[in-house]
Symmetry: D2
Subunit: 196 residues, 4 copies
């Protein structure tokens, strides 16, 4: 059995911190990194990518709506063409940070309301999936099962990795899961090797 232990990371901003990334990074096999719109900034992204590379943790873009105050959780009405550009910008920014650090972005995981918008609307889901495919056909899209995001990714020729929902107490939970998986002979495997 192979399992990808995944967590959102780098969701601070400037002096603000969210979560215990230093502890989480030692447990997970892949990290969804905030890209500066709902959270995160250049410096935090650089630090998180560096930690991930040192521990062979896969990284993915975790793009959100441009809404730091609302942490990307609020509905902001915008046309889908604008949404698509915000998605592309953020993936590119993380790819740049990764390239400069000798790492590589291997997946995309929509954050909060951006994800809700894609899940709720086939046209939006398709628009975003095709944009991802134009940036890099090898990108894996993280998706809840049986959603428009999953189906759109497949229509765009992208691979998907199906995820199960997160909860509070992330560090302890991840440690427990890792322990259980490994004691059962399973291997916690970075997303980038998962579908290779």
């Amino acid at each position: 059995m192979k399992i990808d232990l995944n967590s959102d990371m780098g969701e601070g901003f400037g002096p603000y911190r969210v979560g215990d990334d230093e502890a989480l990074i030692d447990v997970v096999s892949s990290a969804n990194i905030a890209c500066g719109f709902h959270a995160g900034d250049s410096v935090i992204m650089g630090r998180t990518v560096k930690m991930a590379k040192e521990r062979n943790v896969s990284i993915g873009a975790h793009p959100g709506l441009p809404d730091l105050m609302g942490f990307g959780r609020r509905v902001i009405q915008m046309d889908s063409a604008e949404l698509e550009k915000h998605l592309i910008y953020q993936i590119g920014a993380l790819q740049g940070i990764a390239a400069a650090a000798g790492h590589r972005v291997t997946h995309v995981s929509y954050h909060a309301e951006l994800g809700n918008m894609a899940v709720a609307n086939r046209d939006i889901a398709d628009l975003l999936a095709r944009a991802i495919a134009r940036i890099d056909r090898e990108l894996i899209v993280y998706s809840m099962p049986d959603t428009e995001v999953e189906r759109a990714s497949e229509r765009a020729g992208l691979r998907t990795l199906l995820v199960h929902s997160d909860t509070p107490g992330a560090v302890e939970l991840a440690r427990t899961v890792r322990c259980v998986v490994e004691s059962g002979g399973g291997v916690v495997t970075p997303a980038s090797e998962f579908l290779a």
Copy 2:
């Protein structure tokens, strides 16, 4: 004779506009595109890149300090490692926008105070130049002649294109120069073909 006619572009934000990009894009051979920190946003970047591609205009990243209110012209004291991350983030973001549009970022031109900081400090100039080289060794750095930016770019193994200063009345000036160049048998050549 070959000459690259170059201009800053995409320096609006949201509903705000600066300059007449629609007119300029027909005259220049390369555009420095603001990347969202001192000006520009995802939508404006997308629109500018699309116009450039349709007219075979080369595009470059025009990264600035994170200071929309001050248009990247104000000194903001920050350590050079932070500066480097802001540079990388912005180049990556434009690369993403370009990739999704089927275009390619072929140069980098520092904006305002970010450029001043590099010109004034060899260590900063080297740090930034090496970061650019790690992102893409083929990127051309636009530089004023005989500056730390030029020398750092060469030390980092990057090619440079030496630029001459801009002035108000950009559209008319560019038209005049283009006319003079072409009447003399010269060719206005995109930066991307210039050093190939």
Copy 3:
């Protein structure tokens, strides 16, 4: 006949400009000044208030949603308690700028989507009107006729001034109206004197 010629003003940001405030300020009798959320910043507010005071033009707060990129025109879902705090903050900020300039804020005019939210929802309209009344009972609320904003203002004990819609070509239109009013023996009167 007395008429209040009113216009939105100070809707630039940093280096960006919108409209010709220097021309408008000579024609209008009251100005709705953007307060830094959808547009405007401390410096622009200071400049606009100073111009208004020098010409005996009444000033009002023109608060909007916290959305510079969308110019306050986009729906942003937030609870009404948050909306109320954003309104209060912006009115206070302009009052501070006015106090320091020896001027006085005498009205409030909701901008774009903030106004739409109040017009569409009696509870929101009441919450905002009561907040305005707590800040200053003398504040006049500008309102389209026969809307929740008008009724809520009256319920909160505030006076209202009914407005008619704006159009492009503001400077010329305002000049024409002023000319017609004055040639007919009417007086263009600052809002602050209108209901005194």
Copy 4:
């Protein structure tokens, strides 16, 4: 003996939190409230002011440079007229929040680099002090002893309260000080009553 136990508060932003304001508010007699530029937002300001009012804690504006990413600690070069407007805007915003909550702003305490700029430059210190005096002559300026801020406040006719530096472990330290003061027969007194 009367002593004012004072602390910075409300320095989160959106979902981010800094410090344990709920614990601190029970111990201090006055709070310096961030005003949305280096930290804080309308909602957090409203919540902090409400807590302060319920516990008879004096409130002051804690204005900073417009730099959320740098928490107001970075040097940003701007002319003193701009600095003055940012100061005024923030004091006004908090006054609005306070007025709507039935509380009153009774002091001003410069945050970080804004304070450094005033301490380092008599002209800036005077400009800011005079602006405060124009907003409300009763405002008390918190100042380190024997600085340009103290002297400028006196020249502007403002009262000052001399402060001693803060440290980490604010909640415990404040509790200890309060305990020592009260066991010695002293009274922890809100700033607003201190100089009345």
